[in-house]
């Protein structure tokens, strides 16, 4: 087959064709250009391309003379051959590794096409980079690019970095064209060797007991884990998030549902709302001394007793008990918050859709308040600790849920709602059997956004005396311990990513089966 290809008459001559290939690949890179080049690939062109790369780098090396490759004792042509050989061998090995990884990700092209397209990127960019290297050596270039970007060396360095990125981009095209793969598989193909290299590098750090940021962080985190501090803070972090999200989901979904309903007139039966309202009022009044100091005092004593029995408990549920204890210890505040939410919910229940714009607008405003500011403002009424944190977290968490519930329900096609109504569903049945199930994917997205956001805010809640992973960050900063605050940042980031991944999995599971394939169907 190769013989056939090689005997194909070349209309413009071999060199002209190769030059065209390099120029178009560099100047108008696109999948189509690379695909066209792939169809013209043959062994001769590949060999010439790679050979040329070796020659250019070889000539440069002989001229510049790196000590490791060019020895002064050998004749020039021996050095040149050696460097050409090393270049070709490197290219071949890297190409082969990429080829097999690409095959692993479902690539379809042959090694010949694969190598030709890689050389198409490597040869012209290699020449440019080699030319730039005459301005200064590699390390110097990249460093100068940062230190003194306006000097000639600095400019050359910046150019080299840019060409490096450009080369990576072109390699993505080249791989995709060579193997007709999906874009994601191409990224994995190119990423795998990098990650593999990273893993090897890190392993070598530990093997050689190298002292750098990665090893110190590892030692620090491992030490904290052994002491059990991380587990404790992690548990505190997660419980605070879980508690707040649990309440926020209920509040957010209920409010979201309310603002999609038509508005209604108050009725006598709505007096049921008064029960929690009155209870909350009584709680607030009694504990703040409105019903006599004696009662307030006895409540205080009672609360102290509960508080003590709750805070003594530790273990898995320890942080949750801490939160409950903090709530119990501030009955007047809890009564106030309860009244507030009851009134808001009832107002939305009555106003229905008429309040949707205003509600979403206010929700948007609340979300823009910095969490640190809210924590600070709430210290006076709610004190320091889990109660203050939970209040702010619930407030923040319910907003994306509320918004997504509203959008999700509104996005249900009116024909579907009408079909349900026309078949005799009551409004409640319509909500539970049609609107909410269809809005579930959107609502869960809201919950996912909330949780990930809360993991970040909960880290800040360490500032107002909560045992969360943010503690590492704040103590680290105040004690100027670099490894401590970096560890905190790493842990919070990992936690957020892990929880987000888990929520993505849940989202997929909870999406009704019939809604999954819908996008492809339409």
């Amino acid at each position: 087959m190769t013989a056939d290809v090689m005997q194909r008459p070349r209309r413009n001559g071999l060199w002209r064709e190769m030059l065209d290939g390099w120029v178009t690949a560099l100047t108008e890179p696109s999948l189509d250009v690379f695909r066209a080049q792939r169809d013209q690939a043959d062994l001769l062109k590949t060999a010439l391309g790679v050979g040329l790369l070796g020659l250019v780098i070889g000539l440069w090396a002989v001229a510049v003379g790196p000590a490791s490759l060019v020895t002064g004792t050998e004749p020039v042509w021996v050095n040149l051959l050696r460097i050409i050989f090393f270049t070709e061998a490197d290219f071949f090995i890297i190409g082969l590794i990429l080829f097999f990884i690409a095959k692993g990700f479902g690539g379809e092209g042959g090694f010949n096409q694969h190598s030709y397209l890689l050389s198409l990127v490597a040869v012209p960019l290699g020449m440019i980079v080699v030319a730039l290297l005459f301005v200064g050596d590699k390390l110097g270039l990249t460093l100068m690019a940062i230190l003194n970007p306006l000097s000639p060396v600095g400019i050359a360095g910046i150019l080299m970095i840019l060409f490096g990125f450009y080369g990576l981009l072109l390699l993505l095209f080249a791989l995709q064209a060579a193997h007709s793969m999906q874009a994601s598989a191409v990224v994995y193909t190119l990423g795998t060797p990098l990650i593999g290299w990273g893993v090897l590098r890190v392993a070598s750090m530990f093997a050689a007991h190298e002292e750098n940021m990665i090893t110190t962080e590892w030692d620090f985190i491992a030490g904290q884990w052994a002491k059990g501090t991380i587990q404790e803070l992690l548990l505190g972090h997660l419980w605070l998030v879980a508690f707040s999200v649990a309440i926020a989901v209920v509040l957010g979904v209920v409010m979201g549902v309310f603002i999609t309903w038509p508005s209604r007139r108050p009725r006598l039966s709505h007096l049921v709302i008064l029960i929690p309202l009155v209870l909350c009022f009584l709680l607030w009044a009694a504990s703040s001394g409105l019903l006599g100091e004696g009662m307030a005092d006895s409540i205080k004593v009672m609360v102290k007793g509960w508080d003590r029995s709750l805070t003594r408990a530790g273990g898995f549920f320890g942080p949750l008990l801490d939160i409950l204890a903090a709530i119990v210890s501030k009955p007047s505040a809890v009564g106030m918050i309860g009244m507030m939410f009851t009134i808001i919910l009832y107002a939305l229940f009555l106003a229905g859709e008429a309040a949707s714009d205003l509600t979403l607008y206010i929700a948007g405003i609340i979300l823009t308040i910095p969490s640190v500011a809210l924590f600070g403002v709430m210290i006076k009424p709610l004190g320091i600790g889990p109660l203050n944190a939970a209040f702010a977290l619930i407030l923040y968490a319910q907003l994306p849920i509320l918004r997504n519930t509203y959008t999700g329900i509104k996005a249900v096609a009116p024909e579907i709602v009408e079909a349900g109504r026309g078949m005799g569903m009551t409004e409640l049945q319509l909500l539970l059997k049609v609107k909410l199930p269809m809005a579930v994917p959107v609502i869960v997205t809201g919950v996912r956004v909330s949780i990930v956001m809360l993991i970040g805010i909960t880290a800040i809640a360490a500032y107002i005396g909560n045992d969360t992973l943010g503690e590492y960050i704040f103590t680290g900063i105040s004690r100027a311990q670099e490894k401590r605050y970096i560890a905190g940042a790493i842990l919070v980031a990992i936690l957020a990513l892990a929880v987000d991944y888990f929520m993505g999995w849940l989202q997929n599971r909870w999406t009704p089966e019939g809604l999954k394939g819908r996008r492809e169907a339409t």
Binding site: A413, E415, I416, E418, A419, G420, R421, G422, M423, G424, M425, T426, Q429, V434, P437, M438, P512, E513, G514, L515, G517, R518, A521, T522
Partner: protein, 383 residues
């Protein structure tokens, strides 16, 4: 039966009514199509029956399953809606529920147990000529036509006496729409529901309706009558314009070939000899004749000029007929079939390919002319 008595609907904030003093009665077991230009209130009219829209005035009665005529305005809207079949375009299926759950929507609301719902759904799928495998699939896995069949099945799930259909075949391509319409008409012959059928397509209205209710902008009833009568006697200029200049042709849709065909056409037996055939044809002035065998199965035709001067059996000279028309075909389809193969005469056969008659363009022409002259005679009579 569905009866409208002086029904009016004025939407809040508007001064002119959307439906104006509408009165008509749809007899039990008939389809009434409501048709009119957009904004004529046809959907409003339909939705007032199950009170998705509340009328501003007048009364609407439906015959319930016990045979009692009941005023819908005095019924609980939820129970009313459950007792009336409701079919809308295929997008009205619940995408998150399986076909079984979709069909079982109203039965479930009425508290049927699962086994009964499943049995009913299976029965309905069979009625729709669909495989039982569909039960556990989701709407997005079905084609548009299949989804619409499920939509109809869902509407008749509890066997309600009255049904409302809101442009049910509107979003289907013309070929499948025709198939679905025919299927539904066949089904209707079995289930005999009283149906209010909204459409914007006058051809569909003529085809599907036992009665047509033509509305004008502002919900004014222009004419309520049978399709044939509306086509031959449009009540006024609006109706005349609306049914179109080709209304004479549309009438062809309403007449079936067996109504106009010559049921005793001159036919040759395959076993006759050429001489007899020549005599038979010249006696009747025919240039060709259709040939049948002993049990009246259509064999083809012979031409007079092919037979001249020949001997032997007719059978040897038969050429196959390019087309034959099935009993029950409308004149419109028959005519179009004849135009395609450029025949002036064509055999009408039954399902077993036995010749039942002959139809030619002249007979079709006469059918059109008769309805026209009937109309002019009527008009003269009125003056």
């Amino acid at each position: 039966m569905i009866r409208f008595e002086h029904v009016t609907k004025i939407y809040p904030g508007t001064s002119s009514p959307a439906v104006d003093d509408l009165s008509f009665t749809v007899p039990t077991g008939e389809i009434c199509t409501i048709v009119g230009p957009s904004g004529c209130g046809k959907t409003t009219t339909m939705k007032m029956v199950n009170r998705l829209i509340e009328p501003s005035g007048g009364d609407i009665y439906v015959l319930d399953e016990r045979g009692e005529l009941r005023n819908v305005l005095e019924m609980d809207p939820i129970l009313l809606r459950r007792s009336i079949g409701y079919v809308i375009q295929q997008i009205g299926l619940f995408p998150h529920r399986t076909i079984l759950q979709n069909i079982g929507t109203v039965p479930q609301l009425m508290g049927w147990d699962e086994a009964r719902i499943r049995r009913r759904a299976e029965e309905l799928l069979e009625m729709m000529n669909m495989s039982l495998e569909y039960l556990d699939r989701y709407p997005h896995e079905l084609s548009g036509g299949e989804r619409q069949r499920i939509g109809v099945a869902r509407g008749v799930a509890t066997d309600p006496p009255v049904m409302l259909m809101d442009e049910p075949f509107g979003a289907i391509d013309p070929i499948n729409r025709n198939i679905l319409q025919n299927e539904f008409l066949r089904l209707q012959r079995e289930i005999k529901k009283t149906i209010l059928f909204v459409t914007h397509d006058i051809d569909e209205a003529i085809k599907m309706g036992d009665k047509i209710c033509i509305l004008n902008a502002g919900g004014i009833l222009e004419q309520f009558d049978s399709p044939a009568h509306i086509l031959s006697h449009p009540a006024n200029e609006f109706v005349e314009d609306f049914v179109g200049a080709d209304r004479a042709l549309k009438r062809l849709n309403l007449v079936r070939v067996e109504e106009v065909m010559d049921s005793r056409p001159p036919l040759l037996q395959a076993t006759q000899n050429a001489e007899e055939a020549i005599g038979f044809m010249s006696e009747r002035g025919l240039r060709f004749a259709y040939v049948i065998d002993a049990d009246r199965t259509l064999k083809g035709y012979v031409r007079l000029r092919d037979l001249k001067g020949k001997t032997g059996w007719v059978d040897e000279f038969v050429e196959p007929a390019a087309t034959a028309i099935l009993m029950g075909t409308s004149l419109k389809d028959a005519l179009s079939g004849m135009l395609v193969v450029d025949y002036a005469n064509v055999c009408v056969v039954d399902a077993h390919n036995r010749v039942r008659g002959l139809v030619n363009t002249e007979m079709i022409h006469r059918a059109v002319v008769e309805s026209e002259s009937e109309k002019s005679a009527d008009e003269e009579g009125e003056e």
